[in-house]
């Protein structure tokens, strides 16, 4: 968790609101992946990023390798968005990912 720091550690959102999660890297990340771990424990791929931005429905993510951070924006939060969001940094040689400790998101009506 020290090499990839996620903030906040937990977040409570009302349905319909927006929020942002952040990852800061103290290692040289060339790629970033974002995952949602659902209550059953499965890791769902959300985004794979090289420096730049991507959008998928109500989710948008950005990765700035020079400033060593990545963000995940949730727009119009829904109950099914609840779970733990992980970011993970990838290096140059496909040697595996370095994960943050996650942000636990709870969406309430």
């Amino acid at each position: 968790g020290d090499k990839v720091k996620q903030s906040p550690s937990a977040l409570s959102l009302q349905e319909g609101t927006n929020s942002a999660l952040r990852c800061n890297f103290s290692i040289a990340a060339t790629t970033v992946q974002w995952f949602l771990q659902n209550p059953r424990g499965s890791l769902i791929n959300l985004f794979y990023l090289v420096p730049g931005t991507k959008e998928n429905g109500r989710l948008k993510s950005a990765f700035d390798s020079k400033e060593s951070y990545s963000t995940l924006h949730i727009r119009d939060a829904q109950l099914e968005d609840s779970g733990t969001y992980f970011c993970a940094a990838g290096g140059n040689y496909a040697q595996g990912l370095t994960f943050g400790l996650g942000t636990r998101v709870s969406v309430f009506p």
């Binding site: 968790g1 424990g41 499965s42 890791l43 791929n45 496909a94 040697q95 595996g96 370095t98 400790l101």
Partner: protein
């Protein structure tokens, strides 16, 4: 969509026993990975492989061995299981360029 399966899904083992966790992928990916997930640590890389016959140490390899007998299969072996190895273990596969990794459903291991 990539398909990564793990077996068993749940396992109870005794201290000092041998445990083998299996992973199979049907994506024809070169690379495969084993991680463990513990509260307070997130997911940590144990071993990985660049292809059949290859195994490499990750960040926390002590107490684990790995075997990659084929492109599709990657095993994690605990020769002498200890209670500290109680965890949830995830396998993943990815292409050789280091693009998106796809994860299996996880194996819950309890060592008594």
């Amino acid at each position: 969509e990539a398909a990564v399966t793990q077996s068993p899904r749940n396992k109870v083992a005794v201290t000092g026993g041998k445990v083998t966790l299996s992973c199979n992928q049907t994506n024809n990916h070169n690379n495969m990975y084993w991680y463990r997930q513990d509260t307070g640590h997130g997911l940590r890389l144990i071993h990985y492989s660049y292809g059949a016959g290859s195994t490499e140490k990750g960040d926390i390899p002590d107490g684990y061995k790995a075997s990659r007998p084929s492109q599709e299969n990657f095993s994690l072996i605990l020769e002498l299981a200890t209670p500290s190895q109680t965890s949830v273990y995830f396998c993943a596969s990815g292409d050789r360029l280091g693009n998106t990794q796809y994860f299996g459903p996880g194996t819950r291991l309890l060592v008594l």
